[in-house]
Symmetry: C2
Subunit: 113 residues, 2 copies
């Protein structure tokens, strides 16, 4: 294969990686909202260890385990950051708009029957 | 969906990510060997910029562009590291075993006709 063909392969893999990372982010946000309802912390070291262990088990090379772990450290760091950001945004939204997301009626509609 | 079901989704995505990253690494190693033959450098800033641009174009959220870029910075850093390591290993192998990978005959067989 030529350099150009190999680079097209990389570009194709990268687009699939973007799709999968977006999918992972959506699931992480869903988990964050469940955890907020259940008052569970964003950072769960036991769960993160399980994720790394699974990644190393799935790894068949050619990347050494330490290098694939370095990539997942960044992925998990980014995911934790968007989960925390979303939790803060949600909390502020509830504080600013009473009734938002709590199932209670908002005052401006509650006054007009 | 329950927390457990969502985590199973994440685990499934992570296994697919490991597969894609392994595939990317294999292609990067193939590119590295082509570049070695053509005496091209491992680090090519113009190509790396094109990779980041393509990633941001493919990104539909929910990850902000800056966060998906942070993940790809680590991916590219790891890939460059294995490409360099492979180049050094290949070079050393050629130095230790004359004729290895160069198409030339090794002396111990070349002396016996």
């Amino acid at each position: 294969m030529t350099l150009e063909e190999l680079r097209k392969q990389i570009d194709d893999v990268d687009r699939q990686l973007v799709d999968l990372l977006s999918q992972r982010a959506r699931t992480v946000l869903a988990i964050g909202r469940l955890k907020a309802v259940a008052s569970l912390p964003v950072y769960e070291p036991v769960r993160e260890k399980a994720v790394y262990a699974q990644v190393r088990e799935a790894n068949q090379g050619p990347l050494p385990d330490i290098e694939i772990t370095r990539i997942f450290e960044r992925i998990i760091d980014v995911m934790r950051s968007i989960e925390m950001h979303d939790a803060i945004t949600e909390k502020n939204a509830r504080a600013v708009e009473p009734g938002h997301g709590t199932g209670a009626e908002a005052p401006e509609t509650g006054n007009e029957k």
